[in-house]
Symmetry: C2
Subunit: 404 residues, 2 copies
């Protein structure tokens, strides 16, 4: 083990330079313009895998961007860990807000700046370099490892599921490890054990067959914008609870142990508020900020539109109004069940003067790990040793498409 | 008088052709592309005035589009009537919804189709041709007449006020006559004696310094779209009354006589509903549709926007949300007083988690004529004779900038 740490320490600067090379590839998965770069990045990751000494590594084509798979199975009888990560990155606009160019990584105040450095090339790189340090320092790994590094995480992992189904045997593992969330604070080793799920809708309302003049018709018709605001206002009650009947039936309640663990995390609500730039924080009554972010379902209108939205004034009662609604789910809620409840409720509360319809846009399952699994104990031990600091369990309010 | 009617009847077809010539000029006042057409139209109207025998007619330049003024003051000791109208027209988009081109007037089923035929070239033309029939048929007018035909009614009569102030003496009249509203029904001679005023606002809300992810931040911040829908919902109560404190203080109540007169008008709510294409009509409780349209103030959100409004789903809690609000006023409400009440109320009901501001965009005074004035009696007599039908008094829910 000493040899492993020594190899990592001796090669620290080289590892950093190699990470920069990985970040320099503009592997923006949402951009057709960067398709070749995404492809190039997949092959670059494969070469890293072979270079560090994995037994095999391969680029798998999909209907979208390629998946890189590599493995090192030299520890019979030992557990197998599948490490998931992604090599694609988000778009970089607006460019003028970057202090240094996104694909020319630079280190300032001990942090590396560059697109993908924390999402998710940095994490992928750390895992690979840890394996390299083992293989070069000692020559073998204490467990079996599989790497699945995809190129479509930022665009919804559209082609991943087919790959998972087609390659179940190859991918079989005792534990799946994902490093694609944040640490609670710098220096605080954090294990994320829960993600929220998602149900996303669009509400469409129609009041009349065409736009009407607000002078000539104001007073005789229900304005669909007003109908929409009435619907939105009935989606949550005055305590911030989602008002859809039956919505909380499958929600796993927070137990005292959970709440104490969350309360003990180093998290300052006032610092958080300042970072967001909000005048005041707001959430479901009776729950702390972290409880609301991680363990409670939430509902947000992500977009609303109707009528005249340009400069100046136009006196119109629009024929239509629309809203997009994101509902974050927690265990054991199911997006399909929630979608049915949502549709029923919206049609029930819609004023009779308007026609209403609901489109189901997107869904994803929540996830909550059973932290009594021995893999968690091993992770805590390893992180504690590495960081020389207590390990915390955290959750994440968003979703990762791979996790189901 | 017989000679007047005979002249009009004999020249009916020629008058129609002349109206078509007037409508053929695309005098769209909002379009810089059509500036020359607007100018040409002003001179065309002046030539009509001189052609029918007015003593004088002139095109007056303004900072915007020109005003045409003409007069015939050959009846000393008799009252003077100022006839107001406008020769500019609205834009014509979308063109594919026109059955025949907007500037190639065509007659179908006894109606003339062409931009401006009922707003307001047709009405202006009728007045001028009536004068022509008097002057050609008899040689003199029984009263003094002044014509003020402007070219900016469709863009808010921006330069009219300066002209009115600068030419008070020239424009002085006992009665002002405007033909720029509709008849209640075909064949029902209608005198419009009231217009609603207007106060128009934009509400701007900010919740955080930048857009946030609905997964990572949902549950900890007040979404400004939700804050906005809460504000909108408190602008009216469950009876459809405007909930701004003090808002109704200056409203002239409907008296039993008014209500009876409105109730006796030939107006079918079901036909009206079908024309609009609404599932159900809606208005302030305790008032008929016409009462709500003409005699009661109303409030409509004319536009609302915030967050992601494109195709598909984006999981965002937007930093901002906005709405445009049109309030229609009735006598004796004042737009400035209402603006102050509106601003106070919105800032009072805005949730503490968001920053709110109100922009004043536009205002206009309501108008209600005193129908005991002898001009109304004369108008009723004339219309009754011309149409051989009872005359009705109506109001209009919109505004005409000239009327103050």
């Amino acid at each position: 083990m000493e040899a492993v740490v020594r190899y990592a320490a001796e090669n620290h600067d080289r590892f950093l330079e190699e990470l920069k090379d990985l970040i320099r590839i503009p592997s923006i998965s949402s951009s057709t313009e960067h398709k070749d770069d995404v492809d190039r990045c997949a092959h670059f990751v494969k070469e890293i895998m072979l270079g560090i000494g994995l037994e095999s590594a391969e680029v798998w084509q999909t209907d979208g961007h390629p998946i890189v798979y590599g493995e090192c199975l030299g520890a019979p009888e030992k557990p197998t860990v599948l490490i998931y990560g992604h090599y694609d990155v988000q778009p970089v606009d607006p460019l003028d807000l970057w202090e240094t160019p996104p694909f020319e990584p630079s280190i300032r105040n001990g942090r590396m700046y560059g697109r993908g450095s924390v999402d998710d090339k940095g994490q992928v790189h750390i895992h690979l370099k840890a394996v390299q340090s083992w293989l070069k320092g000692i020559g073998t790994l204490p467990i079996n490892l599989k790497f699945l590094i995809e190129g479509e995480e930022e665009v919804g992992s559209k082609n991943l599921n087919v790959f998972l189904i087609d390659n179940q045997k190859m991918l079989a593992a005792d534990v799946v490890l994902i490093s694609d969330t944040s640490m609670l604070q710098k220096g605080v080793p954090s294990i994320c054990c829960g993600l929220r799920g998602l149900a996303y809708f669009q509400i469409d309302l129609r009041g009349s067959k065409q736009d009407l003049h607000s002078g000539s018709f104001g007073g005789a018709v229900k304005n669909p914008i007003h109908a929409l605001t009435e619907i939105v206002n009935q989606l949550k009650d005055e305590k911030g609870r989602i008002a859809i009947p039956g919505f909380y039936d499958d929600v796993v309640d927070l137990v005292p142990g959970d709440r104490e663990a969350l309360a003990q995390l180093p998290f300052d609500e006032e610092d958080y508020r300042k970072e967001i730039g909000a005048a005041k924080l707001y959430g479901e009554e009776g729950f702390s900020v972290l409880e609301n972010l991680w363990c409670r379902p939430t509902l947000d209108v992500c977009g609303i539109w109707g009528g005249f939205t340009g400069e100046g004034s136009k006196t119109v009662i629009p024929a239509e109004a629309h809203a997009k609604v994101s509902i974050r789910l927690v265990s054991h809620q199911d997006p399909e069940t929630v979608a049915a409840l949502f549709e029923d409720y919206v049609s029930k509360i819609a004023p009779p003067e308007v026609e209403v319809s609901v489109q189901r846009m997107h869904g994803g399952l929540p996830f909550l790990a059973d932290t009594s699994h021995p893999a968690f104990e091993a992770s805590v031990r390893a992180l504690k040793k590495g960081f020389d600091s207590d390990v915390v369990f955290i959750r994440e309010g968003g979703s990762i498409p791979f996790v189901q």
